[in-house]
Amino acid sequence: MEANTTVAPVLTKKQLLWKKIKKSKHYYILMAPFAILFLTFTVVPVIMSLGISFSYFNLLEPPRFVGLDNYIKLFLEDEVFIIALKNTLILAVVTGPVSYLMAFVFAWLINELRPKLRSFLTLIFYAPSISGNAFLMWLLIFSGDVHGYANAFLMRFGFIDNPILWLKDPSYMMLVIIIVQLWLSLGVSFLAFIAGLKSVDKTLYEAGAIDGIRNRWQELWYITLPSMKPQLLFGAVMQITTTLAIAAVSMQLVGFPSVQYAGHTIVTHLIDYGTVRYDLGYASAIATVLFFIMITTNLIVRQILRRVGN
């Protein structure tokens, strides 16, 4: 008896797993198309990127193992990468939290309005993020001549005498990128917040009022935020990932490469080495560094947000 009970579970465990797998075959079939594509274009590339980053690879010759050379060059010799890293972190630290707060605050304010007005404002705030190349309108706003709206405005009211070269002067480039990126940033997380606010249990507010909640700020902190923590976590992931990957706005507004690399980011650096210079080993090292920055930031912020309202 004793021996039987110890041996039998080991066998049945394996058999059980096999049985379970066989029983679940329809689920695997349903998942197969997505899983194959997802593995091919997302999971395998991450592993490949890590592997290639230890090599010299230009697509024409087979990759040559170079150890940590790419990483050493990246952090010790490549001054442009350090600029890109600095710019990316500035953009992330500024636009990340600001866009996250904007998305939440606007969603929160909109939530109080009547349905028609609420839909209208949702559209107004969300539209920039799905408007394709409409952010090129900012080229006209920040145009460096007297016709640019920003220059014309500032000159008309006497703030400046000569037009500012917003897109060519390194001291203004980051400001322009931040403004445009914020304009674009009310995307998926904004919608998640709107939806989250809508689904907060209304009776909690009445109960809160009885328990002594006096104003909207207390209500926000003690009831609203804790009830929509899942959406807050989801929104944070979306915002962090987007802000650390800023590239298109920089490339199309201030140029690629920008004057003195003042608008250079990790992703534009990656694009430079990956698709212009075809130094794929080096590009992969950049990608790998970016990958770890993104994952680490996400996991840290997630830990912090989990504590909200606890």
Binding site: K20, S24, H26, Y28, L30, M31, F34, L37, F38, F41, T42, V43, V44, P45, V46, M48, S49, L109, I110, E112, L121, L123, A127, P128, I130, G132, N133, A134, L136, M137, L139, L140, Y149, F153, W183, L191, A192, A195, K198, A209, I213, N215, R216, Q218, E219, P230, Q231, T241, T242, L244, L270, T275, L280, S284, A287, L290, F291, N298, L299, R302
Partner: protein
């Protein structure tokens, strides 16, 4: 004009309402101004484009910019309709493929327990934490090694496996009552029938969300380094070539931006409430 439902709301002060409403108006203008100008500039003659203060509504409404655009495109050796077709093809095939394939995968993930489910979903959630740019280089190698470079599939296939769509669809499907699926099973329906005939119709709001997310991504794709044949290039590429001009092209640029933005925005206007509904299930733990 009772914009706030103040009387029925608890814990609200008039002063607070006014201050917060002012903030909304200010940022609403910030958000809307470039879009309104994009629309209005597309219909302005050149001499009105550079006026300050800018006119929100053109005095001499004109279709000149669109005519210039089509003329410029007419001069290129690939007919305009070809670029247009390429974009439509990539967008429609990619979006439809994404909705079907991501939903198929989302269904078992949301409703059943089976070996490998946990790890697969964890991978999906982790993939939301990094941007697709990270995998661009190896993707190029993979796509070229399976011979898809310079075909629409190079853009379509990676987009179909967009993990955000799977994630949202799975979260949305989780709220379908199990009894519905159980009773269908008792009636003898296969998993595939349950999926296509019961689950899919129930998650229509989530379709729209997946559609808009992928649609706007594919609609503006320029083919990047994956497509280099001129006759396979999408619309966005052609339009950008034209737009890379000087001041004289400002009107054309506006026309281009208008065309690129109007399609996804219109789609969102029509499906907004359904899309927001989907996001109420987007939460993470």
């Amino acid at each position: 004009m009772k914009l706030f439902k103040r009387k029925r709301k608890l814990n609200r002060s008039l002063g607070g309402d006014i201050a917060l409403f002012a903030v909304l108006i200010f940022f609403g203008i910030f958000s809307a101004f470039p879009l309104v100008m994009t629309v209005s500039n597309a219909f302005k003659p050149l001499d009105e484009l550079f006026l300050f203060p800018p006119r929100l509504f053109p005095r001499n409404l004109t279709f000149e910019n669109f005519r210039d655009l089509s003329e410029l495109i007419g001069n290129s050796w690939v007919p305009f309709s070809r670029y247009f077709f390429n974009t439509i093809f990539i967008t429609v095939v990619g979006t439809v493929g994404h909705v079907i394939i991501a939903s198929m995968a989302a269904f078992p993930l949301a409703k059943y327990k089976f070996p490998g489910r946990g790890i697969f979903f964890t991978l999906v959630v982790y993939s939301l934490m990094f941007a697709p740019q990270v995998t661009a280089t190896p993707n190029y190698i993979i796509i070229s090694s399976i011979g898809l470079i310079d075909t629409p599939s190079a853009i379509i296939l990676p987009a179909i496996a967009s993990s955000l769509g799977l994630y949202l669809m799975k979260q949305f499907m989780s709220q379908i009552p199990d009894e519905l699926i159980e009773s269908a099973k008792i009636d003898g329906a296969s998993e595939y029938r349950i999926f296509f005939q019961i689950v899919m119709p129930l998650v229509k709001p989530a379709w729209l969300t997946l559609i808009i997310l992928l649609f706007q991504r594919l609609w503006i794709t320029d083919g990047g380094s994956f497509i280099f044949s001129e006759e396979l290039k999408p619309l966005s590429y052609a339009l950008r070539q034209i737009a890379q001009g000087t001041i004289e092209r400002a009107g054309t640029i506006a026309a281009v931006a208008f065309i690129m933005m109007i399609v996804p925005v219109t789609f969102f206007i029509l499906s907004q409430s359904k899309i927001v509904e989907t996001f109420s299930h987007s939460g993470m733990k």
